[in-house]
């Protein structure tokens, strides 16, 4: 009788573990499924930066356009009127500061930062996800899943934890959180997401008339 009880408990514990692991993976796969077949994307977001070196929190509203067709492009901008515009077209990254009317071009490979996660678009398959991230765990509360990952490769330097927050019946991405090693953090909440939009090529090639080339620090 004792042996049977132990075995039942053991199997129970194993099942819960497997179920939990399965639930985590299922949440990720559910989110990945929402990205499948999405070639163009427009996101309106609110970015909150909470830095240990600053007394107050910094909030910015911004837009992100992603076009994964062909060689892949994106445009990211904050502020209204925009304080900074960053575009990538092919292998080139263009950083524009309209206020100072300056810009810089640099190879896209040098933009090794947490924002490359947004700019490169989200993974669309489990294999792509695993190639880019190490899944630390998934915390679920109701329909909201917090997918905690650690980026692989150069992106993970300085980043302690990256969290994709998904929610709703379809498991759509709602926010992205980055926690840095010094205790600082950044949250990007997706206020509005539009998929499969027609995006013009001009969007990714801002007009630089009257701008001066420079090298930003």
């Amino acid at each position: 009788m004792y042996l049977v009880t132990v075995n039942v408990l053991f199997i129970g514990v194993l099942s819960v573990g497997l179920l939990r692991a399965d639930t985590g993976e299922a949440a990720v796969k559910q989110w990945l499924a929402t990205n499948r077949g999405v070639d163009t994307l427009k996101v309106e977001f609110t970015q909150t930066r909470k830095l240990t070196s600053l007394k107050s929190v910094i909030r910015q509203r911004g837009f992100l356009w992603v076009d994964r067709r062909g060689e892949g492009s994106f445009r990211w901008q904050t502020g209204d009127p925009p304080g900074t515009i960053v575009t990538r077209k092919g292998g080139q990254l263009l950083i524009v500061r309209p206020r100072s009317r300056q810009y810089e071009r640099r190879p896209a490979g040098e933009s090794g930062s947490s924002m490359a996660i947004l700019a490169e678009g989200f993974p669309r398959s489990w294999e792509e996800f695993q190639r880019k991230y190490h899944l630390v765990g998934v915390k679920s509360r109701g329909e909201v899943h917090r997918i905690n990952v650690q980026p692989r490769g150069q992106l993970d330097r300085g980043i302690q934890l990256l969290t994709f927050v998904t929610g709703g019946a379809r498991g759509v991405l709602q926010a992205l959180e980055v926690k840095f090693r010094d205790g600082s953090s950044q949250q990007i909440v997706f206020d509005k997401v539009e998929r499969r939009l027609p995006l013009s090529a001009e969007l990714f090639s801002p007009d630089l008339s009257g701008y001066q080339a420079t090298k930003f620090k």
Binding site: T52, S53, L54, G153
Partner: protein, 806 residues
């Protein structure tokens, strides 16, 4: 009973003395002393070693599948090693922004204090009252708008732009030439500064390294134990302590193994040929005595033996035993007193010792100091050997010989072939050599051979792996620029920079990184003192403005640290000192690039030659004060130098010897025969090096004069014996033939035992010399008598035949 035990006791006692002598010897793992001093590459390597190599600095490498795995492991390993206070004095990791914020203030402050006044002026203007607030507002705006959160983070700790406007702004960072982390982040190194032992003594270093190895092993087991495969890491180590311990241990082992191997093989050879134990025991005792005396003299004269000189003991054993054999055989043939024995063969042994020592001393003409040292030691040992054998072994040999007749020896030397075969071989072998050169691969010098490199070196493997990960394809070469003081160093650096730029324009270099901004600049420091004083006076206002702009204590900590450091540097400057960075990070960072030692200062620049093995870039950038440490061009330079050496030594020696032989023989036929034996030996070596893996390099090529000497020696002995016997080949074979064969075999054993040496150069020298001596022995003992008979056809000579064992 007593008579049987006595030799064993004496041999054991002298053996123990010899082992004690070996144990007392101090081995120098420093290979830079063995290179020609006039080569810029050799000077560069020696200067890197003298100024920048830290005896106590171990490099620990951490490799993993991902950047995160390595980063976490490095942090944990560093914390663990810092706790080992009895072993580790300090520890340095890759400079990260987090560390720069916490510890980098003194370094940033020094960079401004030491930089140009123009740049400091522009900083002062930016931070002037009324303008600094705009700078802070601009920073806040950029923090808010920054695309990459990491950039926002960095700026939030440095809103006044003190770090980003640092010493290398606008130029290529000298520290970038010596990274500590691979671009992918999956490989990182830690510099561990050891303590607790004398790091100039390799035996103590070995002990320290054993303890470190244990600590690292235990840490690694614990770390990898509970982790997934992708979070696991590999830990290895290299650097000066690892090389010192490895080279020192290998040298000890090389000497012991080669000596033991030589002694054992010579003993076996002696026993097989003579079937006697008592004379063998005394011979061994005499050999050990020679070794003990020579090592003691060498230690007194040199202090330390180099990685190349450890081979001398085995060569010496192989050569010194010959004198003992000659004495013993003579004593058997003509029994008498020791005095009579010495009178009979003493002059011959002494002349042989002097001539062989002269051949070894001729290695002093070589450009390699290491080879010269090896030659000097063997020469000294040979002279000691002659004296020990004549006055120590001769009385024993004569006493033993009186109790035993000369009969009973095996007739083991092969007979000479018929004239036809011998003449055919004399023609065919040189022709084969010419054919090999025409149809085979020309036996050139190995271009990338490094004679002083250890064959199986884990520290070297780790070192290469580290270079591969950190530098990849872009392998920079360090250049060392020296001067008496910092003012002069800047003058030298400027001149070096101009030469390097010209070399880059000429397509010889594709990258030049100069260390100028990291070199203390007394002139800049004097001019900057006043500006810095004014900036320090503004400290209160600036910190208040930062506070009002919304920066926390963490946000202003770097700025505060910079201001405090400036205050400190001003104090030092007022005392008339050249200001060096404060703080452990600052000191260590600058010490990697600039060093002050023994009244001289040195700085490291980085160059990337287009063709490293080509010496034109070396000649374009180097002068007396500027040298490079590049192994590829060093290999080329050594090969060029050795080629010159061979002709410089070989040709005059050849001319002198031909003249001397002509005078000795007074017979053109015998002169031709001797030259033919040398030609035959040389041709055989050519064939061997063309068709086997044995090849020539800058080190074993120096064995050619040695082979030339032994070839000559053997042929002279044989020709005189043939003359004395009136061309009786059988008599010569059984007499001098046996002696020359034993000498040849024992010398070949001595040299051949070096094949086990860990240094490539020594090992290849041993192999080539062993092969060459065997060829020389065969030619002198087997072929030369037939050639002699063929050339002296009018002489009433007797053909050779093997007699049954008598």
């Amino acid at each position: 009973m007593m008579k049987k035990v006595l030799p064993v006791v004496v041999v054991s006692l002298i053996g123990v003395l010899a082992i004690l002598a070996i144990m007392r010897v101090r081995f120098s793992p420093d290979v830079f002393e063995l290179l020609p001093e006039d080569l810029p590459e050799a000077r560069g390597m020696e200067q890197i070693n003298r100024f920048f190599s830290r005896d106590a600095q171990l490099i620990v490498t951490v490799q993993g599948e991902s950047s995160r795995a390595v980063e976490e492991a490095v942090v944990a390993l560093a914390a663990s090693l810092r706790e080992k206070k009895e072993l580790v004095a300090d520890l340095f990791q890759e400079l990260s922004f987090e560390r720069l914020v916490k510890e980098g203030g003194p370094l940033v402050a020094w960079a401004w204090f030491n930089g140009s006044s123009e740049r400091l002026n522009s900083l002062q203007e930016r931070l002037a009252a009324g303008r600094s607030r705009a700078v802070l507002e601009e920073s806040l705006s950029r923090i808010s708008d920054a695309f990459a959160a990491e950039n926002a983070l960095i700026l939030s700790y440095d809103p006044l732009g003190l770090v980003e406007g640092g010493p290398e702004a606008g130029g290529e960072d000298a520290l970038a030439a010596d990274p500590m982390r691979s671009p992918a982040g999956d490989f990182e190194i830690l510099y561990v500064e050891g303590k607790g032992v004398d790091f100039s003594n390799y035996r103590e270093v070995r002990h320290w390294l054993d303890e470190m190895r244990m600590e690292l092993k235990v840490w690694l087991q614990n770390w990898n134990g509970g982790r997934d495969k992708e979070a696991q890491v590999e830990v290895r180590w290299t650097g000066t302590p690892a090389f010192m311990a490895e080279i020192g241990s290998e040298m000890e082992q090389d000497m012991t193994v080669s000596v033991v191997l030589t002694v054992v093989l010579i003993s076996v050879l002696f026993f097989l040929l003579h079937r006697q134990l008592a004379p063998l025991s005394w011979l061994l005792a005499a050999m050990m005595g020679v070794l003990a005396v020579t090592l003691t003299i060498a230690e007194l004269a040199l202090g330390e033996l180099s990685v190349m000189s450890v081979g001398f003991a085995a060569i010496l054993m192989g050569l010194a035993v010959d004198y003992g054999i000659v004495l013993y055989r003579e004593a058997l043939v003509s029994p008498g007193s020791a005095r009579e024995l010495r009178r009979a063969v003493g002059p011959g042994i002494l002349w042989a010792a002097v001539t062989t020592a002269t051949v070894f001393l001729s290695l002093n003409l070589s450009s390699l100091p290491g080879l010269a040292e090896l030659g000097n030691l063997v020469a000294l040992g040979i002279l000691v050997g002659a004296v020990v054998m004549l006055f120590g072994f001769a009385p024993l040999a004569s006493a033993m010989a009186r109790r035993r007749s000369s009969g009973g020896f095996r007739d083991w030397v092969p007979p000479s072939p018929g004239n036809g075969i011998a003449v055919m071989m004399a023609v065919c072998v040189p022709l084969c050599a010419i054919g090999s050169l025409v149809f085979g691969k020309w036996p050139g010098l190995e271009s990338n051979f490094h004679p002083f490199r250890i064959k199986e070196s884990p520290a070297l493997v780790s070192w290469k792996e580290m270079r591969e990960h950190l530098h990849g394809e872009s392998k920079s070469t360090p250049a060392v620029i020296t001067a008496p003081d910092f003012e002069q160093l800047h003058v030298q650096l400027e001149a070096f920079g101009k030469r390097a730029s010209s070399a880059r324009d000429a397509g010889l270099l594709d990258r030049v990184i100069l260390p100028n901004s990291w070199v203390p600049h007394p002139g800049h420091q004097r001019r900057n003192a006043e500006i810095v004083r004014e900036l320090v006076a503004e400290q209160g206002r600036l910190l208040k403005e930062m506070d009002e702009a919304g920066f926390t204590d963490e946000g202003v900590s770097l700025t505060r640290s910079v201001m405090d450091s400036w205050e400190r540097y001003l104090g030092e400057s007022e005392e008339g000192k050249v200001v060096l960075p404060a703080g452990s990070m600052g000191k260590w960072t600058v010490a990697r690039i600039v060093q002050e030692q023994d009244g001289a200062v040195a700085a490291i620049a980085a160059l990337r030659p287009v063709t490293p093995g080509d010496r034109s870039w070396v000649e374009a950038v180097c002068d007396e004060r500027s040298n490079v440490a590049n192994l590829a061009s060093l290999g080329t330079a050594l090969n060029e130098r050795i080629r010159e050496d061979v002709w410089r030594i070989f040709l005059p020696m050849m001319a002198l010897l031909v003249l001397a032989l002509a005078l000795i023989y007074r017979s053109w036929k015998d002169l031709v025969l001797t030259l033919l034996t040398l030609l035959f030996g040389g041709a055989t070596l050519v064939i061997v090096t063309v068709w086997t893996p044995l090849s020539w390099n800058s080190f074993n090529l120096c064995g050619v004069p040695l082979l030339f000497g032994t070839g000559l020696d053997f042929s002279i002995h044989m020709l005189f014996a043939l003359r004395r016997s009136g061309g009786n080949l059988g008599e010569v074979r059984r007499g001098m033939g046996k002696a020359v064969t034993f000498c040849g075999l024992s010398s070949a054993i001595g040299f051949g035992s070096l094949a086990t040496a860990s240094a490539h150069g020594l090992s290849s020298l041993g192999l080539v010399c062993a092969a060459g001596i065997l060829v020389n022995t065969f030619v002198a003992v087997v072929l030369l008598p037939s050639w002699y008979r063929a050339l002296h056809s009018g002489m009433k000579s007797e053909p050779d035949s093997v007699s049954p064992v008598t």
